[in-house]
Amino acid sequence: MQRIGVFVCHCGTNIAATVDVKKVVEMALAEPGVVHAEDYQYMCSEVGQEKIQNAIREKNLGGVVVCSCSPRMHETTFRNAAQKAGLNPYMVEIANIREHCSWIHKDVKEATEKAVILMRAAVAKVNLNTPLKAGESRVTKRALVIGGGIAGIQTALDIAEAGYPVDIVEKTPSIGGRMSQLDKTFPTLDCSSCILTPKMVDASAHPNITLYTYSEVEKVSGFVGDFTVDIRKKARSVDMSKCTGCGVCQEKCPSKKIPSEFNRGLSNRTAIYTPFAQAIPNVPVIDRENCIKFKTGKCGVCSKVCQAGAIDYNQKDEIITEKYGAIVVATGFDMIKLDKYDEYAYSQSKDVITSLELERIMNAAGPTSGHLERLSDGKAPKEIVFIQCVGSRCADDRGKSYCSKICCMYTAKHAMLIRDKYPDVNVTVFYIDVRTPGKNFDEFYRRAVEEYGVNYIKGQVGKVIPQPNGKLLVQGADLIDNKQILKEADMVVLAAAIEPNPDVRKIATMLTASIDTNNFLTEAHAKLRPVESPTAGIFLSGVCQGPKDIPETVSQAGAAAVKAIGLLAKDKLLTNPCTAHSDELLSNGCSQCAHVCPYGAITYEERQVNDHGIREVRRIAVVNDALCQGCGACTVTCPSGAMDLQGFSNRQIQAEVDAICL
């Protein structure tokens, strides 16, 4: 029997308001083995930790139970404190009486009863704890960044600057991401390309950065500090070492009618193409699905005109296998499809466009060379209506439940830019709420209203009605004037919701990183660990974690880089000592455990054992501590009960069950 100390935290009033902490202390003292119990306002504070340490020393405690918040919050804090007082850190258990008790129950009697039971379960468990020692594993000093948008570029640059090699894997032929499609950026109206392109160049020129464009992550194995990743480098059909980026192949390519992804389908590209003029690398790819040579075997024009002889129709996909210590996900976002919002006539009229399409139209390198014009007839619009929250903040299954966060600001930007460049164009914005929390954001929006005369109407639009004369009749509500408005417009711009890149689910599965129902990656803690995934060694950068604008994305990209650098800076990592172990006397070498082990951590060896005086050589299972991640699959599958998991042993869990059921 251990000498156990129980420490009950008030957490201010978070626990103490609902749980009678004195009662928990009193009940703890009645538990067998408990030689010390006390309560304190904040156990996690310096003073609280000292109380634990003093008790360990003075009462010679062999086990500690802290009744407090979730172990996911402060288990490490209390374990470190115990270690400083000379107790093995794995002799500490947490009874979660905050998240699982005081915060969800109102009745003091009921909550106190439950807290006592949770305390008893932890005491029962700690009685069976054994001191554990963490092993060590090495750290591969190289990082992988998945996604080459502004988030990925910034993270990679920061890691590279700190002196570590970093690879960017980008699915499309060029890095740059969504930001490269934007014309201007809020709230300062900088030209997006002007601030992004230098960063793209920096990334490609940095000696520590390797770019894998037109590439995808195919397989991930391993764990924090030691991931092994297969990257599929898709066949570009152009030799990157020979191509000079002269662009002749693109001029001469006869297959010219392919909708340009970069221009959101508003213009066409050729089958051999670079997505945009400032693409990095400035080496085209052949889109094999649309290339005449690949479809029919005839053509080959690009090869004929290429002075450098860079065209290679026989190029194959290449798999690159590389080891990494840390992985940063920066997969970004796309706009939702608008096929469920036909009341806005997006599919019925060419003059109803999304905001991202407007970015391309406003951009000098875009499909209209920067002239604001209707896509149906090329005429200059005189009346433009913006509709906010299209597909955001929805409780139905048509849209997204969240606020997309960036639309209020970019709509104010669009409205302002249009009024600035074309003062004779009237701009109306239908809004539900204008959300502008951010430095200089509300001031920006107010300028749109006060200086540029943008007409903001509080109310949503019910229907956009194309008229026989080519105009669009916008039927909306004005909730301030309590009127239904019919407004004739030449162009309607929809602020469509954003959603995480659909590929992220596949990537999250490979990384075993948590993902929520909206396909945003989950952070380890919503407030305190916002750029880390709960899976160690995986970090989050940009919109893959939640909607955010460019300044926020860049901040988060830097934060993710710092977390990755912090990991790479270590030579060794302490491994989780809660690993499986097989009892050599019970193991019968049947291989069942090896079959279920996802890490290949179990091998077999012929070993001489002494079974109650009988010496014989047996085939027994052996767990490699460095590979075992402690899931426990083997412990349940083992028919002879030889496998057990340290820290979560059969006896420990049964003791908890017993304590709860009594």
């Binding site: 919002y341 036909d342 009341e343 006539a345 599919s347 019925q348 229907k463 009605i465 194309p466 008229q467 026989p468 004369n469």
Partner: protein
């Protein structure tokens, strides 16, 4: 192929054309509409209240008879289709309504939404196929520019009716193409004509009809088609006389060359 058929009150009286042309067209297309015995009026509007049971029973009776015959239930009138389809959805998904209705009905086997309810247009699209219909057309209505008027009852609520995209439907347009004419797409085709209000508030109904017809005519329609006797009545009474309104079954019969039958 035999379907159970629920004609409804109006098709036996003021809208006999809608019914008659459907029957002769069905024959020409090789399927049969077998009228439900002793059907009762659906009530014309779907009772929205969650506590309304008695008003839903006539639909349940028709649905159950189709179930017992092992047939799908076909409707023509938009209102009947709307009511029966929604009651069927309640019987399938709302336990409270299902229990109460079955308690009242005392059937040998409780009814739980097993019957598949099809609008005649859905039969043409999903069972016959517009491609097959097109082949059977002997008298294509070439050159006619027709605006489909859906109204509100067939399309909404979209999830329950599951008839077509409620904001941008195409089933009637595809039908128009199949009979050889040219569909005219106009934005008011899924807006309400105000039929219900036409009894007491002609002014309001007339305003809505004008919007619909002006829009259709503006986009070049020579005529409208509908599946709803009430829309037909309202558009004729309160709308623009220059734009005639037909039941879609009449044009179907004409295209199939069985109009005179």
């Amino acid at each position: 192929m035999k379907y159970s058929y629920y004609p409804g009150c109006t098709l036996k009286n003021k809208a006999q054309d809608l019914d008659h042309y459907a029957r002769v067209s069905a024959q020409a297309l090789g399927f049969e509409l077998e009228e439900i015995s002793e059907w009762q009026c659906c009530g014309g509007v779907y009772p929205l209240g969650t506590d309304e049971i008695a008003t839903k029973l006539s639909s349940v009776r028709a649905l159950n008879e189709a179930k017992e015959k092992g047939q799908e239930l076909v409707t023509l009138c938009s209102a009947c289709h709307h009511v029966i389809k929604r009651v069927n959805d309640d019987m399938k998904h709302v336990a409270d309504i299902r229990t109460k209705a079955n308690n009242y009905m005392q059937l040998d086997e409780p009814y739980a939404g097993e019957t598949n309810v099809l609008h005649f247009l859905e039969v043409l699209r999903d069972r016959v196929g517009f491609d097959v219909l097109k082949e059977k057309v002997t008298n294509p209505l070439t050159g006619k520019k027709i605006g489909a008027y859906y109204g509100c009852l067939l399309l909404r609520p979209g999830k329950v009716m599951a008839f077509d995209n409620p904001e941008n439907p195409k089933i009637m347009e595809d039908f128009i193409r199949a009979i050889g004419a040219e569909p005219v797409i106009y934005p008011y085709r899924n807006e309400c004509c105000g039929g219900y209000i036409s009894l007491k508030d002609n002014e309001l109904a007339a305003g809505m009809c004008r919007k619909i017809e002006d829009s259709a005519a503006g986009f070049g329609a020579d005529m409208l088609i509908t599946a709803c006797p009430l829309c037909m009545y309202n558009l004729n009474k309160n709308g623009n006389e220059a734009l005639p309104v037909y039941y879609f079954t009449e044009l179907l019969a004409e295209a199939l060359g069985v109009k005179g039958v």
